[in-house]
């Protein structure tokens, strides 16, 4: 993997539209075959586990984007044909935000989003 492959325009994008454009996704269709498994409330905004799952055939790429981070794109994963399109990563979130999973399958883009709450903490029963 050469350093030059890193998709600088996509990672530098500061709006969701720019990030999606840089990834070649335009306006992805929402799909029930894309799933995000994550806690509704983050235990720690610095470490938020997110599992991204695609049930779409021929999934080539899965990306994770955080709407309210300074740079939206957190990660992009490219699958080999034998790789099952289910990846788990841990991301940083500065505040409560929608997290989007973007999937490229058969050359088309699909997405799903979930709100993850980042809270100040304290109190309890």
């Amino acid at each position: 993997a050469a350093f030059a492959n890193w998709d600088k325009p996509a990672f530098d994008a500061k709006t969701m539209d720019d990030a999606l454009k840089a990834l070649g996704a335009g306006a992805p269709a929402n799909s029930g075959d894309v799933q995000i498994v994550a806690s509704d409330i983050a235990e720690n905004g610095a470490v938020v586990p997110v599992q991204a799952i695609s049930r779409l055939p021929n999934t080539e790429r899965i990306a994770i984007l955080v709407e309210k981070n300074p740079n939206m794109l957190a990660a992009a994963f490219d699958m080999a044909p034998d790789t099952i399109p289910e990846v788990t990563a841990r991301i940083k979130m500065g505040q409560t935000s929608n997290v989007m999973v973007l999937v490229k399958a058969d050359g088309k883009f699909y997405a799903a989003a979930k709100e993850i709450k980042v809270t100040l903490g304290g109190c309890g029963g």
Binding site: D40, T119, G122, C123, G124, G125
Partner: protein, 556 residues
């Protein structure tokens, strides 16, 4: 030590309350959220427990007369005293103290006598909530739970002694006696199980699976540094997988011993298939009857067994042909005046308290009004803490956490150091004094308010609203996040977003606050009370509520 006639009356009353006939072939006894109350206490149930959105007017969000009507309880009865806030002072005089492990032990033995093989399940919040529990790092409660005969438990406040202490108790004190289960506590590195997700027990030839569900938001509601290597969460998908695994292992009965809080349990019961019953805690809702929740796999019972040692839940199941055919459920109030103290447990309690009696027994002041905590927005004991914080720290505004534990004092009673510790005994008791802008104050209030009133229970944390001193505000619980807190004023002037204010508080969850030290809050409040000697009923600072007229979670 009652005179003859009185004793006979007490026995007759006890018969009526406790002699539920045994039923079926599998019995599960359930205690939860005793918060280390070894001795009998008074505990006033809330007069404000609002349900919002889909939860409005539904169990457990019923208080006072609306709760009595819903469960068909007679005003003025023993049951009304146990389950509701109505006429609390009078009924407390009539029916006396509740709970206490020696009295609970007598009840457990009585119930177990005609329920052979019954399992005793402890939903957690057992090791925290008293001076002795704090000073012994939970050891007094560990001994009491073993003697009581607890079989299986799950966790919440236990974790605030730190993960190493919890592991030590699990592996040494509890070895071969009490099993800790938690499907939702995993290691922070590779996500391995920290405890067994469930345990499979043989009860009279029936395989019974008990799945543990610890408080999902422990690292958020309490300091994360205390469980640095563990991660929690609701983990609904893994709950389903655990239920399926238990069934595959031959379980005829699957119950979840849960510390989710009741709204979360009700949602989980509507989505996860194959659970016969969720025995719940955390939100301290003493619910006389279970909620029956439909889901794609059938029906699930959801119970909640109150707090402070007030109740013993008894679930009797008739299991035939490998499935639950029928059930009976009773939530038995532990009336200390009806149940003699178990001598063995009484001796243990006397022994563990002995080194601390003098310190616990110091009278700090006398209260002229009822001092209680529980309720969505404020309690009179919390107001007392807020008043002490503002006075002692010369602060304009004070915050006190919306804890749901904490016992009740009646008018005319002394406030002892023990009573004060019942409200404050935590492992991060530091008093804080900060300058906060009006905007930051609003952010804090909105954040906590969303934890209480988010329309989706999975986004709730099960505490009450942070108690606020000095600052007036309005609250619209049904408004969207960020718009619930309104009309904030200080001494009649609107709070200014960019101006900074002096704010006192306690129980900070940040590790930096631990490093900064800060006086334990009980020292500050004790100093304040000793100087006051007599405490008039505190003037409760309550928000002006909007949009909740007629809500049965608000006592008229």
């Amino acid at each position: 030590l009652l005179p003859g006639a009185g004793l006979a009356r007490a026995e007759a009353a006890a018969e009526a309350v406790y002699d539920a006939p045994a039923f079926g072939n599998v019995s599960l006894l359930h205690i939860t959220d005793c918060h280390a109350q070894l001795k009998p206490i008074h505990f006033r149930e809330p007069s404000v427990n609002l349900g919002i959105g889909g939860m409005a007017g539904r169990v457990p969000h019923l208080v006072g007369s609306r709760l009595l009507e819903h469960f068909n309880l007679k005003a003025g009865s023993r049951e009304a005293y146990a389950y509701s806030c109505l006429d609390f002072e009078n009924l407390a005089g009539l029916y006396g103290k509740v709970g206490g492990f020696a009295h609970l032990a007598t009840l457990v033995k009585r119930v177990r006598a005609n329920r052979p093989g019954a399992l005793l399940l402890d939903g957690g919040d057992t090791w925290q909530g008293s001076g002795t529990a704090l000073w012994t790092q939970g050891q007094d409660m560990v001994e009491a739970a073993k003697l009581l005969g607890v079989d299986i438990m799950t966790l919440h406040w236990e974790c605030t002694y730190g993960q190493d202490r919890v592991k030590e108790i699990a592996e040494k004190d509890f070895a071969g006696k009490i099993e800790i289960v938690a499907q939702n506590i995993k290691t922070a590195d590779f996500g391995d199980d920290v405890f067994k997700p469930y345990t499979l027990r043989d009860v009279n030839g029936v395989k019974v699976a008990v799945i543990g569900q610890a408080f999902p938001y422990t690292p958020i509601a309490n300091p994360r540094y205390m469980v640095a290597d563990w991660t929690f969460g609701i983990r609904e998908e893994e709950m389903q997988a655990t239920v399926d695994a238990a069934r595959a292992a031959g379980a005829a009965v699957v119950v979840v011993l849960s510390h989710n809080g009741m709204d979360v349990d009700l949602k989980m019961a509507s989505r996860v298939r194959g659970i016969d019953a969720i025995l719940g805690g955390h939100t301290h809702d003493g619910m006389p009857a279970p909620s029956i929740v439909a889901n794609p796999g059938g029906k699930t019972l959801v119970t909640n067994a109150g707090s402070n040692g007030k109740f013993l839940g008894v679930l009797d199941l008739q299991v035939t042909g490998g499935r639950v055919a029928d059930f009976r459920y009773r939530l038995m109030p532990v009336f200390a005046t009806l149940l003699p103290a178990d001598p063995e447990m009484d001796a243990l309690i006397t022994r563990v308290r002995a080194p601390y009696e003098a310190r616990l027994g110091e009278t700090l002041a006398v209260t002229e009004g009822t001092l209680y905590r529980r309720g969505n927005f404020n309690g009179s004991f919390d107001q007392l803490i807020l008043d002490a914080l503002m006075a002692e720290k010369d602060a304009e505004i004070a915050f006190s956490p919306g804890f749901r534990w904490g016992t009740t004092l009646l008018p005319g009673q002394p406030i002892t150091m023990e009573n004060l510790l019942d409200q404050t005994a935590i492992t991060y008791p530091y008093v804080t004094l900060n300058r906060m802008t009006g905007e930051q104050i609003k952010t804090v209030l909105e954040d906590v308010c969303d934890n209480l009133f988010n329309p989706d229970p999975y986004y709730q944390q099960g505490g009450d609203m942070v108690r606020v001193g000095g600052l007036s505000y309005a609250c619209d619980p049904a408004a969207p996040a960020g718009r619930r807190i309104q009309d904030m004023t200080l001494n009649g002037q609107p709070l200014e977003a960019s101006k900074s204010y002096k704010v006192a508080g306690w129980a900070p969850v940040a590790e930096e606050a631990k490093a900064a030290g800060g006086e334990p809050v009980w020292d500050l409040v004790a100093r304040h009370l000793r100087a006051r000697k007599t405490v008039a009923p505190p003037q409760l600072n309550l928000p002006t509520l909007k949009g909740v007229d007629g809500n049965p979670g608000l006592a008229a």
